[in-house]
Symmetry: C2
Subunit: 431 residues, 2 copies
């Protein structure tokens, strides 16, 4: 963990080190992924079954790729009622928030008498990748599937690897809750290839979303263009802005909630109170003694954690904007005022009663957020990922007479004579 203070001479050097990327693209998987994708494109189901046997130690016929409806139901039924209720509460809240996100169409006639419009339509088909093993989070299923459903996507196809054939009841229950019925027990680059190019069994989709390992991330990168993809997630981060009027243990736990995700995760405290910062540092050490995922969290905190002491909240806001964090907690007297100073953050959690974990599960907004400073230009997953725009221009002869001549001049200047002709032939016609 680094201790920084804006009053120290070497602050800029230390702070810049925090901005440097963690992790990064795994170059070694580029060629293996290319080979798998070509093979899936060429051989379809046969290739998908071969790779599933090799990587997941699971021998399947093409007919067995899809998990049948009875299996989904019976696996989902194994989830305890209280947990099912928690999933339902989360799902309801996610639906309400994403429904409120839906944008409106444009349709207006402008001063030249030209009718202009913009219409939002849903994608036809979306592929949802869900990782297998320990990183299979039911909350991620909700966060990826529900915005697509709310957007009006008709077909949602899910791929989830089941190493050694072991199914994850929580993931299947979450999918079932979201109305996802087309689920394949396939993972890795072969799943991405199947969703992008289609096979005899798996129809192609228009966009693939969901987290995955280095193979999955690289496969998404390579099929981009053939289909749309979501952003490629890097390691997660939180910045906590807190004054001295907080319980150090709560802040410590909030920082560790980020650190426990991944050794490359980053948790940063920015505080106006130097002594409070020290108390949080001590509390982190204490909590690490009992935290089940202490090995991961301790590594993250040691390598990427930081406590930054600032003069005032204006200075804190400036650093937040440079960090452009995925998650920002604000535990100060007037959190709403502070939030107005923030230009770049994936998601903000305001007030002393609102830890980031609220947003991971039951807040309503999406927990798939821009990592590694990409909040400078990117946004969290939303309804906008599952809809697209068509612009519309409609004009009569009178409108064309008003705007057409300028179009002719520009087309001629650009040397595009058929463009110019398609306008000029229509000018001076009777309506």
């Amino acid at each position: 963990m680094r201790r920084l203070s804006t009053t120290e001479a070497d602050f800029e050097v230390s702070f810049s080190a925090l901005l440097a990327g963690r992790g990064g693209q795994e170059r070694s998987v580029v060629e293996p992924v290319r080979a798998i994708l070509s093979d899936v494109q060429a051989r379809g189901d046969a290739a998908v079954c071969d790779y599933t046997a090799r990587f997941d130690r699971l021998t399947l016929t093409p007919e067995q790729l899809r998990i049948d409806a009875d299996t989904i139901k019976s696996e989902a039924a194994r989830v305890p009622t209280d947990l099912m209720d928690a999933l339902k509460l989360a799902a309801e809240r996610i639906e309400v928030f994403h429904d409120a996100q839906k944008p409106t169409d444009l349709d207006f006639t402008d001063s030249a008498g030209v009718r202009l419009g913009m219409r939002w339509t849903a994608l036809d088909a979306v592929g949802l990748y869900v990782p297998g093993g320990k990183a299979a989070y039911p909350s991620s299923v909700l966060m990826n599937a529900l915005p697509a459903r709310v957007a009006g996507v008709k077909r949602l196809a899910m791929c989830v690897p089941t190493p050694d054939g072991v199914l994850n009841p929580l993931v299947l229950a979450a999918a079932h809750l979201c109305g996802v019925e087309e689920i394949y027990r396939v993972g890795g680059a072969q799943a991405v290839g199947a969703l992008a190019y289609g096979t005899q069994t798996i129809a192609p989709v228009d966009r693939i979303v969901g987290p995955g390992n280095a193979f999955v991330a690289e496969a998404k990168r390579q099929v981009f263009g053939q289909v749309g993809i979501d952003s490629i997630a890097g390691p997660s981060e939180v910045v906590v802005v807190a004054d001295g009027n907080n319980d150090p243990r709560l802040i410590a736990v909030d920082l560790l909630a980020q650190a426990e995700h991944d050794e490359q995760a980053q948790a940063i405290l920015i505080t106006t109170d130097s002594a409070f910062g020290e108390r949080v540092g001590t509390a982190v050490a204490t909590e690490l003694e009992t935290l089940p995922r202490a090995a991961i969290a301790a590594r993250s905190w040691a390598d990427h954690g930081a406590i930054i002491v600032v003069k005032d909240l204006d200075e804190a806001a400036e650093l937040v904007n440079r960090l452009a964090p995925e998650h920002l907690e604000v535990l100060v007297e007037r959190p709403r005022d502070f939030s107005a100073l923030v230009r770049h953050a994936g998601a903000m959690f305001l007030g002393r009663h609102c830890p980031e974990a609220v947003g991971d599960y039951v807040g309503g907004p999406n927990h798939v957020l821009p990592t590694s400073r990409t909040a400078r230009f990117a946004s969290g997953l939303s309804v906008f990922d599952f809809i697209k725009r068509t612009t519309i221009i409609e004009t009569d002869q009178a409108g064309l007479e008003r705007i057409g001549p300028a179009g002719v001049a520009l087309a001629q200047a650009e040397g595009l004579d058929a463009h110019a002709l398609s306008l000029s032939l229509r000018l001076g016609q009777k309506s």
Copy 2:
């Protein structure tokens, strides 16, 4: 040019050939681009100057990379007044339409008493790539720069190659009109690298937009993640849906306006009137005899053009949705009714008086649109490319009591104990 009819037995085979990709990723540039980007990242201005000398035959010092304000002004002044007026009309219309696109923020308190929000903010800095030589279109400068300006982006940095030092007055005039004052005479992968990583002279940006050759496209692909990028444009296409009640020459010219862009461009007529289709085919041949860019347009029409005869407009709409064209012209009796059947298209042009060229220059909506069937999942350039969302959750103790327990249950089920603890420690506290 292919002639297709939905009543023929081999229709599906012929139609599928139209759907196949034209062009595609140029693999041979991957390694050269990687080398250029690494070099620019390592050596900054020195590398940029070296590549500019090598590729553009132009020797510059770092101080000369930027085009000074006086040069921009004096070059812009060389543009004739009528052309300048045409640019201004186009700019005004683009501004009005993109201003209407700006979305609204969300801020509401939900049934659990939790305040939820979503806030749109502009990117800080955007890089605009403008190709040199013949593909340097002033209209593209407007279409890329103005949405960024309307979105509220403060810094717009433009890169345009000037082979042999030759400046393009029209491009500089368009930039000047958009208020772009930071312009560098640099192109290719070295420009993309400079904008993404920054050099001693060129500060890094957050997103790079604008068209370019294979080197530029590959460079954008490689810097994606470090910065945002727009979609990587493929060859352009138009689908014209027309009944027999049209002048065949007008339809022929509309098709050729697409074909004259590029030998890989695609122009397709879908008509309910077989005899009319034949007349359009004849008219295309006639127009090609006098069209200045006939060599390009004829190649495009021969290799990728098509006339498809359909039974009725419902069938036409179905084919349009499978083609998901960048541009769609609708010249039928009730174009608005037809447009309601279209789910996938980048931009629609409705009515007999509204050729696609209107949208290239003076319509108002953007002319940077999703090509090569990506309208299935992608949209044209817009204000949305230059803003991003921050979600906001704020709750008091009472709200946390209502939603927190479900969060604890889910965090425990996912094995993330610090997440659970950050919630449970706050439950049961006094407010």
